[in-house]
């Protein structure tokens, strides 16, 4: 008997027991659909984390002061300048931050005022939407100029025409020289809710010392991040006169590494979810086996008749195996379709769009076929082994 004949036989049989076939397939359908949907959710989360990772700044290291020297923090502008001398460092932006009220006329908003340098845009990956960014000249002159974050500009009701106008920060007038492109929220903190002024300006008018809270460092090459981190540690320990046994008075934070970790956690979670979903596929397979065993029982006479008119054991074996395979494969295909629809819906709601992953589809389909073989073989063997005369007498 050819494979085609067997498939035809299996299909005609499934047609006569449609409801049963559909219910049997349901287990596999749910299993495959959840594997496909969950894997795509996992991939979506991971890709979202990756895109945020890039929006934070390329190869970003953040040096934070942890020790105190009287009232001032231990990091200084000179530290920033020294770090800039390290070969692997591409850009350095010292940061001093304070909270202040920013106002235009009667409209006010409270936001972070960050004093920094011209390289801040490069270090933190900001683009200017209108006007210009802070310039070296404005830094040297401690000019009262400000670059507005997108959220702040929005809150104050300012648009492109605001460049060149004046806003007040903590009561002092500042000239708006630029407005930043929005980066979009990254959950816990809105990167667009800040205004940037020259670091000398903030030190002169707001914090009143040369202290630096944070130094943002952009490393030229991703592979140099670890070496740069060590070089900065060494440099700062020497500059701060820290003896060999004493601990650092600063910490270096590698945000990319943190998010890498987050991405790998989400990858592990994806695997875990897919694993749980495969359990339902397994249960679906057991459902197929159960139905096939019942079917062998019910059709004992039919098997006897087929053997009596010339079927060999292997004909019966293939017939039942193909039936189980048809159930599992059809279930797999329907499951794939439902899984794809579900993942495109979830993708649309969560905002990462539709992620089509052919590997998952292929794996889920192959897995459902394997389920069919594994759980179909035993009932099929039971059927094939039946003694014809005993099978014919079976009531």
């Amino acid at each position: 008997m050819s494979a085609l004949e067997l498939v035809r036989l299996a299909l005609s049989r499934l047609r006569t027991a449609r409801v049963r076939a559909a219910l049997t397939m349901l287990g596999v359908i749910i299993g495959v659909a959840s594997v496909v949907a969950l894997v795509s959710v996992g991939k979506g989360t991971t890709s979202q984390i990756t895109s945020r990772l890039n929006s934070l700044g390329t190869n970003l290291l953040t040096v934070n002061a942890t020790g105190r020297n009287g009232t001032a923090t231990t990091l200084t502008l000179d530290d920033a300048k020294a770090i800039a001398q390290i070969d692997t460092v591409a850009a350095v932006a010292p940061e001093v931050e304070t909270q202040a009220v920013v106002a235009v006329g009667r409209t006010t908003t409270t936001t972070s005022v960050i004093g920094t340098s011209a390289q801040y845009a490069q270090v933190r990956a900001y683009d200017v939407w209108q006007g210009t960014f802070l310039t070296d000249t404005s830094l040297e002159q401690s000019s009262r100029v400000v670059v507005l974050g997108a959220t702040v500009a929005d809150d104050l009701g300012l648009d492109a025409s605001a460049v060149g106008t004046t806003v007040t920060i903590g009561g002092l007038p500042f000239e708006v020289i630029g407005i930043l492109q929005p980066k979009g929220g990254s959950g816990f903190q809105d990167p667009d809710n800040e205004v940037l002024v020259p670091i000398a300006t903030i030190q002169k008018y707001f914090v009143g010392s040369s202290q630096v809270r944070t130094i943002g460092v952009s490393v030229g090459n991703a592979s140099d991040i670890e070496a740069t981190r060590n070089a900065i540690t060494e440099l700062l320990r020497v500059r701060h006169g820290i003896t060999a046994t004493a601990s650092d008075d600063f910490s270096i934070f590698d945000q990319a590494q943190l998010l890498d970790t987050a991405a790998s956690i989400s990858g592990t979670l994806t695997l875990l979810l897919a694993g749980i979903a495969s359990i339902s596929l397994l249960v679906g397979g057991i459902g197929i086996m159960n139905i096939m065993l019942v079917s062998v029982r019910e059709r004992t006479r039919e098997i006897g008749i087929r053997k009596a008119v010339g079927a060999r054991a292997r004909d019966i074996l293939s017939q039942f195996l193909i039936e189980a395979l048809t159930l599992s494969l059809l279930g797999g295909l329907v499951g794939n379709a439902i899984g794809l629809v579900a993942s495109s819906l979830i993708g649309r709601i969560a905002g990462w769009g539709f992620i089509f992953d052919p590997t998952t589809i292929a794996l889920a389909t192959v897995f459902s076929l394997i389920v069919g073989v594994v759980f179909g073989v035993w009932p099929a063997r039971q059927a094939a082994r039946l003694d014809p005369i005993a099978a014919l007498r079976y009531e």
Binding site: M1, S2, E5, S12, T16, R301, E302, G304, I305, R306, K307, A308, V309, G310, A311, R312, A313, R314, D315, P388, I389, L392
Partner: protein, 226 residues
């Protein structure tokens, strides 16, 4: 020459503690082209003997040679091949495949011979028409009367054009006139050289045969020439 030859065949069923001796040493020889009736009361071993003749069952001891080949020594696949190529079996209880059309039922033996779909279809239609069931091709067993089911079963037995037709009470469920038609059909098959063996307990049916073999308690009682 003898086509079917049983030599000292016994068949014992092991029913737990009890052993049932269905056949106790049967030796018969049936020649090619013969029309033989096997008669005897119920429990005399007729159906058991038919199962062995049809290669559905194996003797406990003794040997069975079909066309010179000792089939008792053959494996399951070889027996399946003989059932497929040489023997047509008509069961007392029809044994049609449920939820399957008359046409597909009759075509099934051809399926296992590896005959292509179109030819299968044509030959099954021809066999059914020969039994006057040309208008019942798409009917499933439950949609057919007892007599129609019996005729479908006969069509299935003859569709492969087998050398031997074994029939277990083929007229048992038929009205007298239908029974006669079936017997005429067997006569006709016999006339074209087929060997016919049929089981019956009806002397009028047995009278159609050239030879009558009487079984009693698992042994051949007397052998009469018709």
């Amino acid at each position: 020459m003898s086509l079917l030859e049983l030599t000292a065949v016994t068949r014992t069923y092991d029913m737990g503690h009890v052993q049932v001796h269905a056949l106790r040493g049967v030796s018969i020889s049936i020649n090619a082209g013969e029309f033989v009736a096997i008669v005897g009361p119920s429990g005399s071993g007729k159906s058991t003997m038919m199962g062995i003749l049809g290669c559905l069952d194996r003797p406990t001891s003794g040997s069975y040679a079909l066309d010179g080949t000792v089939v008792t020594a053959l494996g399951d696949d070889s027996l399946a091949r003989i059932r497929s190529r040489t023997i047509g079996f008509v069961f007392q209880s029809y044994n049609l495949i449920p939820r399957t059309s008359a046409l597909d039922n009759v075509a099934t033996p051809l399926l296992y011979q590896g005959v292509g779909r179109r030819e299968r279809h044509a030959r099954a239609v021809a066999a059914l028409e020969r039994l006057g069931l040309g208008d019942r091709l798409g009917h499933e067993p439950t949609e057919l009367s007892g007599g129609e089911q019996q005729r479908v079963a006969i069509a299935r037995a003859i569709v492969t054009d087998p050398a031997v037709v074994l029939a277990d009470e083929p007229t048992g469920n038929l009205a007298t006139h239908q029974g006669l038609e079936v017997l005429d059909l067997f006569k006709g098959l016999n006339a074209t050289g087929r060997t016919i063996v049929l089981i019956t307990h009806d002397p009028r049916v047995a009278a159609f045969a050239e030879r009558e073999v009487r079984l009693l308690d698992g042994q051949v009682d007397t052998e009469l020439a018709a």
